[in-house]
Symmetry: C2
Subunit: 297 residues, 2 copies
């Protein structure tokens, strides 16, 4: 297996593009692809202040590393939700690799001293749903108050395709209308949200992490084990195996042709915290109020 | 495993509905489900003259049998495309089971004495694509000239979901806009087309065929072996296994919520045969002309 660019021994074959690359040219391909995604979807500019939501896993660590390497003004933030052991060692190593900073936040500081598993138990709601609401809120609020105007997430092509397949299998029109590589700022209380790894597969990102010695935690969230998204991933992998390129086409054509229009909603300020919401009180503050109530506080 | 209705020993478990039935109540369920589909999608009425496109396989044979049993005015027609051995014995047995007639047509009578594999070889086009165009044309033309106003096809839920998944993975907006359980008559040269088995899985239809001794050919079309639809089927089966009911929801919600609007096209009469087309000459006549040309006729 030879590199398409220089004919030296290839380290990876990309079936969806029908090419193989050596280490040097794979890195080049990878970084160009991130740049291309950023330009194609108008994600960010050199003058932006970008915050990467870091989980300790390969995707977000690679994202922080690669944006930093490409010269963007970027820092990372890890939010400890109390679901996994915080990857302190990996975050420290990551910090040493980049020019920017890696910050650490604790959900307990935002949520009455409680972790997400504790909150979900009190509210009898699924951990993933509680975690999602809280994480989105904390990240957006932190980015805004710390002066960032772009929040970057490490979602890769496999993730996005699994979510897209799930949304399509259930025809969740509302979710389909909001599934985009960029969520523009529709209210002063929101930062712009971008997903620069959305055209790269988990396998490509893993290879890039290995080749560039990017520290990644191997621990998966124990609550995601039986998530439907794993089924959707294996469903689409079943097709991809015989038709390489299916995922890439599925996602990019969706973004290009999607006829799903977001509902027109009025965004106002939460009467408790002031952050944007479509209701009187935002989802995070409502959740917090229910917990307070349950604990008799 | 007990029947949900009468507690006698069940012969089949339907995971998507989380019920089991004995032979009697499975037959009852099956026939009610066909009736429900017909009413839900406004497919046909007792006074309609219905022609079932019979292939010799389980789906179309069951469709002909069940519509006949339910009291509809129905006949069957088998079109010999030259791709499989015509299932003469099964068609004869099917004829003996029903009140209506089972007719036999030969593609050679419509296509210069040639079979589909011969035509596809001459035109260097895929057999499935040539076969589809010719079969649709012959069935519609025969139904019209023989005085039927409805053409019924045996497509089942698995088929429709595989096609739907393929259309969605490639975002074929045009195909998505036309994938419906009923195609209404948009021109006097078309008959209405219906798919009354569209809410029943291949497994349910197979069980009904076995229990009611409906003769079915076991021969599959040799040209369909590597069809992408098999990959789409196994992709969606991968999800269905863990989430029974996925297929049913995928299809019915699509029909209910589909935002894909068919393009406005002008349908005119083919200047050669007079049948409906969006071009000057219809696809079938164009194909025939190219074959004539290639053969120097």
């Amino acid at each position: 297996m030879k590199c398409k660019k220089c004919s030296s021994t290839a380290v990876i074959k990309l079936r969806q593009h029908n090419v193989s690359y050596c280490e040097y040219h794979f890195n080049e391909y990878f970084e160009k692809r991130v740049e291309k995604t950023i330009i194609k979807y108008n994600m960010c500019k050199p003058e932006d202040r970008i915050l990467v939501a870091v989980s300790g896993g390969k995707d977000s660590s690679v994202l922080l590393y690669v944006l930093d390497k490409m010269g963007y003004r970027v820092d990372g933030v890890f939010v400890d939700m109390g679901t996994v052991t915080p990857p302190h060692e990996e975050l420290k190593q990551l910090q040493d690799l980049i020019r920017g900073q890696v910050y650490y936040l604790d959900v307990r500081d935002y949520f009455l001293g409680l972790t997400i598993p504790e909150v979900s138990k009190i509210l009898r709601r699924s951990t993933c749903s509680v975690c999602g609401t809280a994480r989105r809120y904390i990240l957006n609020r932190y980015a805004l108050t710390a002066g960032y105007n772009v929040l970057a997430m490490g979602h890769n092509l496999d993730d996005e395709c699994a979510v897209l397949l799930g949304n399509v299998l259930n025809w969740h029109i509302g979710y389909l209308s909001r599934q985009k590589p960029v969520l523009h700022r529709t209210h002063s209380g929101f930062v712009k949200k971008i997903k620069p790894l959305v055209l790269l597969t988990g396998r490509e990102i893993y290879a890039y992490a290995l080749l560039n010695h990017i520290p990644c935690s191997k621990e998966n969230c124990p609550f995601s084990k039986n998530a439907s998204s794993l089924r959707y991933k294996s469903g689409i992998n079943e097709v991809e195996r015989y038709h390489p390129g299916t995922k890439l086409r599925f996602y990019t054509e969706f973004v290009k042709k999607s006829p799903f229009e977001p509902e027109k909603v009025t965004i106002r300020s939460c009467s408790v915290c002031g952050y944007p919401t479509t209701e009187d009180i935002c989802a995070f503050c409502r959740m917090k109020a229910r917990v307070k109530n349950a604990l008799g506080k």
